[in-house]
Symmetry: C2
Amino acid sequence: MRVVANFLDSLRKVRLKLSTEKLVNSNQTPNSSAATGNERKWLQKSSIGIDHTEVPQNTPAGSDQMWHNIKRVLLMCGGERQAGGFEDAERPKDSSGLVDVLEAQRFVSQVFSAMQVPKQAASEMADALIAADYMGQRSMGIHRLPSIAADLLNCTVAGDATPGIVSEKKAIALVDGHNAPGPVVANFCMDLALQKAREVGIGWVSARSSNCIGFASWYACQALEQRMIGLCMTNAAPTLVPAGGIEPILGENPIACAASGVHEQFVADFGMAACSVDELELSYCNGWSKEVPKLVALDRNGKETTSTEEALRAQRIRAFQPEYKGFGLAAAVDILCGVMTGARYANQIQRRGVYSTENAPANLGQVYVAIDPMRFCPSFEDRLADFHRLLRQAMPSKVGKPPMVPGDKELQHMKMVDEQGGLTMSPCTLSVLDELATEFDIEPLKMKANKPINQ
Amino acid sequence: MRVVANFLDSLRKVRLKLSTEKLVNSNQTPNSSAATGNERKWLQKSSIGIDHTEVPQNTPAGSDQMWHNIKRVLLMCGGERQAGGFEDAERPKDSSGLVDVLEAQRFVSQVFSAMQVPKQAASEMADALIAADYMGQRSMGIHRLPSIAADLLNCTVAGDATPGIVSEKKAIALVDGHNAPGPVVANFCMDLALQKAREVGIGWVSARSSNCIGFASWYACQALEQRMIGLCMTNAAPTLVPAGGIEPILGENPIACAASGVHEQFVADFGMAACSVDELELSYCNGWSKEVPKLVALDRNGKETTSTEEALRAQRIRAFQPEYKGFGLAAAVDILCGVMTGARYANQIQRRGVYSTENAPANLGQVYVAIDPMRFCPSFEDRLADFHRLLRQAMPSKVGKPPMVPGDKELQHMKMVDEQGGLTMSPCTLSVLDELATEFDIEPLKMKANKPINQ
């Protein structure tokens, strides 16, 4: 059973003291009254559904079939279905909607429940998505719902599975995720790591048979409320090409790190790609940008491209510069997460959800570490505040614009969401959510009347 | 007492099976007969000596005084002393010398012994430098000898100190380095971490009151001969400016990772700077390049510069791109190494050696981790070989040029050194070593007759 019982309380702890306003009361519980057994129907009918007809089993990245599936989702509001997007005349064509954080959690949670995910697991999965949106990582947020839904409907993720411990010592454990949803495995492992850290100072928990966990920071941050340092790493489906190569061979394999002091907190989350495929997709489907920067993406012929569409078709992204560092770090993460745990690794991993043409489980590997800093230095929290002070005092290149400390961007975004009274959702996302509500007979997402302030 | 008793044996284990030749017998022991008590004299007389007259105590990075000291070392062979370099007429002006690996170890070890470092510690310090040269990281190798010598002579590093355990649990420990030389602290901690990993699967050892350890991979690699995974991180004197800032506030703070399989090994070492200051120095003093790439360095006014000299004067380097990732990773390493251990952190740290104008100990912090992969996955070594196979098979952009795997570059360099029969040393380095031999009355470095093949 999860230690973190209340989503908003955890978010508040992540947010710490930067914002002083009172947040909405969080006693609402998700209502899982909705649909049973209509999943396959939805999959077949919905435009999100995947076309599995006549697809070779090991379609390589960048195949036309995969692009066909991706495009169906990415363009569903602006492309194939109807120019300009959704049908709701109430919402102006170019404006974004505003949704209360807890209402968004309620809705997403119900979507998962409707797909026969147990209530607790559905709630954990929703938490992970909304936390990403709340902290400003929209490419890891609700935007990913169609892909996760497709996984559940295709039964490539076992919505009702629970992870189990394979082997265990005082400080380490190996967990088999049993193909449960990524956030469920991640929470299980992080709780176990934290428990070990409380007992012996450190907990290193490796997971296999896991799935995509989305926003890695969310799990690292769970160490904060227990005044620990949290680390989280995961491997992922290959999108990174090596320096001097044109074939995607490693995932973006992020490392997330979170540490909290009395007045300050540090949250850092680094994927090893020059630009994540998820961000390109978000940008593409919202029409934000048609160009990717130079040195970021290759096309299907292995040539440099600046076209977002070409980059998404090819799924061949370069590591951050210098490339040997980005690719090398991704390899190190894959060795710890994949090679060492018994999970898949490198290009053995296939994309899932709407991107998948293969029905086997993803079998991702992950590492969750919790460390009790007080065992090393009782004044850790004061020292961390001092560390932040030193970083903030660094002479800026523009007067009055002090350099940002890792975690500041996330905190600012959370404050902004609180001030404007909810999450900003793009027309494209709202269109997808509308469709899900209809399909699963869920109470539609309640919009807020007021418009966002800063977006 | 060190577990690794034989330097060349360890190097061989690092090198594994790529080279099949027999190496030189390594039974030579360093002869520590040389000089006692002539250190101060040498410091005052030598051109490497530091000018401490009328220097303010907290000279900021980029001060004229610091540049004055740096330049004395960097230009000693080509600049201030004599155009073109050293006086030895035997060696042609533009050629490099070739030195046997064990002879280099003997010489460096004797230099440290002559500065009253106990024999075992002197040998460990020499090992670290020669390993860097052997593995192709020359900026961390013998090139750094003058700076380390200055530290010992200034007594900012306690050559005869031994580290001690402050507190300990089964899987974790905090070590006080007692200001012993960096390699001595590092070896002590790595041995302890390995011992813990053998017992409980993981060892996480944090160190404070440590000094510069040089080539972080060398310590991570020590896990290989015990078939473990090794990680090593250290903080360092500030040279990195934050994005939007012009003041150096964090060190290059490298992370090194080493893992070994049956036929393959993985060695990765990443500093967070776009280009390390040590590399710029090496390049500058050998006259290899007068230009630094764009987006790498700032001058003393905080403006972008491509002049190596300006970059070295200012000591303001940017993190690798995207900058928030490089700087954020450096910050994460500093929190684990500095903030959490009781060591100094951020710009509290000052450079030492020839760069220092402050006499207090450096008090660096480090983290050494050893993990037993067999506890998680008994087939780890075969899987790692398979992982390498997948990476090597990735389609190259140029036919016949397969992408390199992290660790390949190091292995190739070690093989090259073996084939050519020794380390290539630049005229500048040889000039410094000549001077040290004279000053400390040590048997001069024996050169090899044959010239290098590949350089």
